[in-house]
């Protein structure tokens, strides 16, 4: 039986067919009283600063889904290469995948050039990818690292524009963090000074922005060394619930102590096995 096939010339650009489908599904879900899950955004305060010997990157650790905290301790400082790290704000999936893709491509590039990757290269790759997607990838990044030309810090926006600056902040808490930077930034700071400044900037975001919270992660990148400090500051430690009557911790061990279940008899039978044959198969890595 012949099937009629309508051949349509391929139309370029994005297909938004699924948007119609999603709208219909959302309507049906609302009719029964449910709601569609929202894309998880990281709320966020992220920032970076260039100091005398390198860069310090900082981030909070709260991931929000609407007004609910989805993850109290998520990691927003992503690995790009041994000397380059990237903080991500915006849609969590977008920042995660974008940084992983560029990290992978950069590793191949570094193997091809035979050199340690440069921050400007990572910046170009990220901005060209984000521009290609015209802002639909909601990733706003703070990229920092140390290469053969010294320490570098870039901020990268979802539409693909970048700024190269000595200090940058991003995320919903960026205004609070920038206020701290504009007050206390000095060029050529020492490492401890820079760490304290970044810590204070993230803290300003955590305590003054609803979308940011929990702990402060830091990443100190210098020539030949990376200090991934997670967490640097447990700014919001959960309190301990105590049963006042018995002075016992309510939250705690859920393992049953040995002796809870009475043992009546015990019989141990060793299984004697004889080694018959031993072979080693090597993997073909050619």
């Amino acid at each position: 039986m012949a099937t009629l096939v309508m051949s349509q010339a391929p139309v370029g650009g994005f297909s938004f067919e699924n948007c119609k489908r999603n709208a219909v599904l959302e309507g049906e879900a609302n009719k029964v009283g449910c709601s569609m899950p929202a894309a998880r955004k990281t709320g966020t305060t992220i920032c970076g600063v260039v100091f005398k010997d390198g860069v310090v990157l900082g981030a909070d650790t709260r991931a929000t889904e609407g007004m609910i905290v989805a993850d109290k301790n998520c990691s927003k400082i992503h690995y790009i290469s041994p000397n380059i790290y990237c903080c991500g704000a915006g849609t969590a999936a977008d920042t995660e995948m974008t940084t992983q893709i560029i990290s992978s491509n950069l590793e191949l590039h570094a193997l091809s050039t035979g050199r340690l990757p440069r921050v400007a290269t990572a910046n170009r790759m990220l901005k060209q990818m984000l521009f290609r997607y015209q802002g639909y990838i909601g990733a706003a990044l703070v990229l920092g690292g140390v290469d053969c030309n010294g320490p570098h810090l870039y901020s990268i926006y979802p539409h693909g524009s970048t700024d190269k600056l000595p200090y940058v902040t991003m995320g919903s808490g960026s205004l609070a963090a920038m206020a701290v930077f504009e007050d206390r930034y000095k060029p050529d700071m020492e490492e401890e000074e820079a760490k304290q400044l970044v810590r204070d900037a993230i803290a300003a975001g955590i305590f003054n922005d609803l979308g940011s919270g929990s702990n402060i992660d830091l990443s100190v990148i210098t020539k030949g060394k990376v200090d991934y400090i997670r967490p640097h500051d447990e700014a919001n430690k959960k309190g301990v619930r105590v049963n006042e009557l018995e002075a016992m911790q309510l939250t705690g061990d859920y393992k049953y102590k040995r002796g809870t279940t009475g043992v009546l008899t015990k019989l141990v039978t060793p299984l004697n096995l004889e080694l018959v044959e031993e072979t080693v198969h090597t993997m073909d890595t050619s």
Partner: protein, 217 residues
């Protein structure tokens, strides 16, 4: 108090360079000038951006409009000019650079929202300024662009004189930028000036409080 659900502005608002840009020819070269403010909605995301981007040693372009679009066009043309100058084995003409910018601006005019002014010096035609708004290509004695330019059309039309020398052009550019930055909310920060002539390229920064002051009640 009302909780703003829409989130940070830079996620929804595209980053624009707001901007005032200007370029002017003089006998023997050109002077370009720009402000340094980059805004996303009502938030300033970069207060020291240099919007005068080099396309080649003696050819610069001034960026305005969408930051991502303008940066991308400038970087693409920089690459294309590098290849072109290797092919012809000499420094490229300013008209070639402007044509490359115009070709991108015209082909993608529905998708892009950036305006670049191209200016530079070459041996054949000395100093030249080209406007590439909306995909046209026109050589002009001077050109202004960006959101701040609307406030200074009257000033530049009244104050421009033919035959100004380099110093007079630099003063003209600084005065224009200062006036525009004072009136346009999307322009501000510091002023960047680039002067190009046969001897070389000179980049200067003028900090906020060193800019000339006019009537300011």
């Amino acid at each position: 108090s009302m909780l703003k659900e829409t989130g940070p502005e830079w996620l929804s608002e595209e980053v624009k360079t707001g901007t005032t840009i200007i370029a002017i020819e003089f006998d023997g070269g050109v002077v370009l000038g720009s402000d340094s403010r980059v805004s996303a909605g009502s938030s300033v995301v970069n207060r020291v951006m240099n919007k005068l981007s080099p396309l080649h040693d003696k050819i610069y372009c001034a960026l305005s409009g969408s930051a991502a679009d303008a940066q991308t066009i400038a970087e693409m043309v920089n690459y294309q000019l590098d290849v072109h100058s290797l092919e012809i084995d000499e420094d490229p003409q300013v008209r070639s650079a402007a044509t490359l910018v115009r070709n991108i601006s015209y082909k993608y005019k529905e998708e892009l929202s950036a305006h670049l002014i191209v200016a530079g010096w070459d041996r054949k035609n000395k100093g030249q300024v080209f406007a590439t708004l909306n995909g046209l290509l026109t050589r002009q004695p001077f050109a202004v662009g960006g959101s701040g330019s609307s406030y200074v059309y009257g000033f530049v039309d009244a104050e421009y004189r033919k035959g100004m020398n380099k110093e007079e052009c630099q003063q003209f550019v600084v005065n224009t930028l200062s006036l525009a930055m004072n009136r346009d909310g999307s322009s501000g920060g510091v002023a960047y000036i680039v002067s190009i002539d046969e001897h070389g390229t000179e980049e200067k920064v003028i900090l906020g409080n060193d800019l000339p002051t006019f009537f300011d009640q």
